[in-house]
């Protein structure tokens, strides 16, 4: 199967596809660089956690910031979002809009968030009943 007479690069018209063999070879270097960056980001996240900032908001901000950079690298390079067609951007734009709207609901309802405490003493009777039926 590896001795296929017609490679993809030969089979498709060059103008019909954004990636020819030369571009792909250059892209491979980018993929390996992104791979290194993702690993570095992972270890940096764990390291930042071990630093133990006094303010939780700082820890959360740093962890989410690094995760967002990593996600952008995966989406941009591995999923080729940095060089996609308009149709894909349109889909993603709609997704981002609805995702942001959903997250905004959290901010909007921050004054009505459930207060912590008492989940076992009375706030979670259903779980208790389920458990009572257990083994």
């Amino acid at each position: 199967m590896s001795a296929h007479p017609q490679t993809v690069a030969q089979a498709q018209p060059a103008a019909a596809h954004a990636h020819d063999a030369h571009d792909i070879k250059k892209d491979v270097k980018k993929y390996l660089f992104v791979f290194g960056a993702l690993l570095a980001g992972t270890f940096l996240t764990v390291f930042m956690y071990s630093v133990h900032f006094n303010v939780m908001a700082v820890t959360i901000t740093i962890a989410v910031f690094i995760a967002t950079i990593k996600a952008a690298l995966v989406a941009g390079f591995f999923m080729h979002l940095i060089s996609e067609r308009k149709a894909i951007y349109a889909i993603m734009l709609a997704t981002v809009f609805f995702f942001a709207a959903m997250m905004y609901l959290l901010v909007w309802s921050r004054g009505q968030l459930p207060k912590g405490g008492g989940w076992w003493e009375g706030g979670n009777q259903a779980a208790h009943k389920t458990e009572a039926k257990g083994k």
């Binding site: 199967m1 296929h4 764990v46 133990h52 997704t95 405490g117 257990g134 083994k135």
Partner: protein
């Protein structure tokens, strides 16, 4: 009837249909996981710190699993690049690594799950609480189990630290789970003193409820993606002989899904293990 636009791009979108389809699917997946993440935030913000079991997950294992998934993501894109250059043998090599990474991820995750199913918390009637492993390492016991088995007492090897208490100074800066710190000698607790017993299962707390929902759904995605990639690697590879471009497009589409699975984990790891 031939399915249109499996190889050639549609004139209006400039894309073959499967690519539009997978991106629409991924858009729906963003909303699915987004809803669960927003649920997590609601539960986290609303939780009493004493009832949010932070620090019980094994960070070194989680970090290792993250690197496994990132490795699989790069092998997926390298395999696609190999096909684009007509190198089928290289494609197969990289995708074999991808499937192995997927199986490793699931194996490690199941070990983590097993540890949770055999890890317990006891709420005593005097208000004290302790976590640890029961003698004999039983699975899924709860308060009712004690009565059904008519146990007069249970033996537990307590963790040195309970998640509701601040960590002692010597642990500050050590990103390790309680499990890695070892256990003390067994302590026998009479049934009459036990108010509640629960393994770290979804009904233990809202934290474990959302933890198992998020990681379980993610694991199902890993499994589904691995099955598709393995199929295309094995029996589905016949298409390479007859329709190489269409086959390459299939690899690209399955790869896009796989990258999304990786992307979700990139957020799950810090949120569940570190924050």
């Amino acid at each position: 009837m031939e399915i249109p636009y499996t190889v050639d791009p549609r004139p209006d979108t400039g894309l073959y249909n499967a690519k539009v389809g997978i991106w629409l699917f991924l858009a729906s997946e963003v909303m699915l996981f987004g809803a669960l993440f927003s649920s997590y935030i609601l539960l986290r913000v609303g939780a009493d710190p004493q009832n949010w079991p932070h620090g019980l997950l094994n960070i070194p294992i989680g970090t290792f699993n993250t690197t496994v998934l990132i490795t699989s993501s790069v092998t997926v894109v390298l395999s696609w690049a190999a096909l684009k250059m007509g190198n089928f043998r290289r494609y197969r090599f990289f995708q074999a690594i991808t499937v192995l990474c997927a199986l490793s991820f699931l194996g490690i995750k199941s070990i983590e799950y097993k540890d949770k199913f055999t890890h317990y918390e006891i709420w005593k009637k005097d208000g004290t609480r302790l976590t640890g492993h029961l003698e004999g390492n039983p699975w899924f016991w709860n308060t009712a189990t004690l009565d059904i088995k008519a146990l007069p007492s249970i033996k537990i090897h307590p963790d040195p630290h309970h998640y509701k208490d601040p960590r002692p100074p010597k642990h500050a800066g050590a990103p390790a789970s309680d499990h890695s710190e070892g256990h003390a000698a067994a302590v026998e607790i009479p049934r009459a003193e036990i108010k509640r017993l629960s393994a770290f299962v979804p009904s233990h707390s809202t934290y474990f409820g959302i933890y198992f929902t998020l990681t379980g759904l993610h694991a199902l995605h890993v499994l589904g993606g691995a099955i598709v990639i393995a199929y295309l690697w094995g029996p589905g590879a016949k298409m390479w002989r007859t329709q190489p471009i269409r086959y390459t497009n299939r690899i690209e589409v399955s790869g896009l899904f796989w990258h999304f699975v990786d992307l979700v984990w990139i957020f799950l790891f810090p949120v569940l293990y570190l924050l």
